[in-house]
Symmetry: C2
Subunit: 246 residues, 2 copies
């Protein structure tokens, strides 16, 4: 059974201000809930069908509710709800500046589309990117469309929201910082540093002027055919990360 | 003004059987209609706002209709309709087998998701891929979600639907055919032939067994972190095409 107040609470979490106020977010479907269970995230509430509960007898959550398919469809954001929905506590992630000088840090300067952020998180999972830093005006990682597009990768990728300029100002002045531009140098012609920052800009406007000031090397993906449409930001990020890991 | 029959006709084109019967499809929005106008596609009908018609005085279409924003929203598939909708004749594309031995041919074996096909077409436009061949059970290029995801690239990319086995059977037996597999050889370790076929499989099942028989080299994208989610098919295709053009 599910109460009206519970339905109201879960629906309220569609908005960032309520996710922030309650410090939790919603995940849906067997695959992603399974990833959450295996991770260090804490589960506050599980709403699941009898079948799911029977196949997952050892779930630890503060509250577990058996509900019908029909009830599930009332709280689901999906057109075909899939057995289980969980309300999960947001992870406390505190960025330690000293860690940035080891490995690859992807910096996202105002990515706005939830599908793009989710896809980028999934690709960072594949390539084992050490951390992602999003500008504070980027889309929220706990937006349900982002969560869905990550396909569960969000449990394995370290993502922080911070002020990009503040972060970079605390790094050694010679630390390699690459930025993706349409008119940058061909990425395949460059010797890429392993410990580095790669900055990707907004879908429409690219990297903001104030962040652009910090970039040491402007890079681009070659082989654009004349007159061709530009690459989507998630695709461009994927190709660049492939080159960083090549 | 727009009549009830016109509304009914445009809405009917959401289904492939009607697009096939009438040999036309719908494009929406200033950017894509502009690409269509500059291409060799023939426009059957234009439904546009007064403002759009005033800024595009030299449009050649069999029928041009001035309509209101409100009327546009009745025929649009978009949540925020954008000034113009066109009904366009499908292009007659006949695959000449002899052309395949020159350049890169991307073969898609049962891609089902419209967003994936649209994104792949856009990436092929960027990299100047010579042609795409889709298996006949793939999603239709004239599906409105595919058209939208191409961002106009569909006018510049040659795409054919054909029987993959039939096509390959007509090629020289030593022609290079690469296939993307999770357990293939690292693409960065291979000397890639410029004149070649690259085969990408279905989102869930990969390359079908019958098509797999023709593959000479199984390739993969390296650097998957242990336990990571696999790459989306459009992302994987983009990285592989980047390597083919590198």
């Amino acid at each position: 059974m599910i109460s009206k107040n519970q339905i109201k609470f879960i629906r309220s979490l569609q908005l960032k201000k309520h996710r922030d106020a309650h410090n939790c977010f919603v995940v849906e479907g067997e695959k992603i809930v399974d990833e959450i269970i295996k991770s260090d995230f804490s589960i506050y509430q599980i709403f699941a069908t009898k079948g799911w509960l029977l196949s997952n007898p050892n779930i630890v959550a503060e509250q577990t509710h058996k509900i019908s398919e029909k009830e599930l469809s009332r709280i689901s954001q999906h057109s075909t709800p899939n057995k289980v929905l969980a309300v999960v506590e947001k992870a406390e992630r505190e960025l330690k500046i000293s860690t940035i000088t080891k490995g690859l840090t992807l910096v996202l300067d105002e990515i706005k589309d939830p599908g793009n952020l989710g896809t980028i998180i999934r690709v960072c999972d594949w390539f084992g990117v050490e951390r992602i830093i999003c500008s504070k005006n980027s889309v929220d990682i706990y937006n349900s469309k982002v969560v869905q597009a990550t396909m569960g990768s969000l449990v394995r990728v370290m993502l922080y929201y911070d002020d990009i300029e503040d972060v970079i100002n605390q790094l050694p002045s010679d630390f390699p910082i690459y930025g993706a531009y349409m008119d940058g140098k061909n990425i395949t012609d460059i010797v890429i540093e392993k410990d580095a920052i790669l900055i990707i800009g907004n879908e429409s406007f690219g990297i903001s002027d104030k962040v652009g000031l910090f970039i040491k090397e402007r890079i681009a993906i070659p082989n654009q055919k004349e007159g061709a449409e530009s690459l989507n930001v998630a695709i461009a990020t994927s190709i660049l990360l492939h080159e960083f890991r090549r």
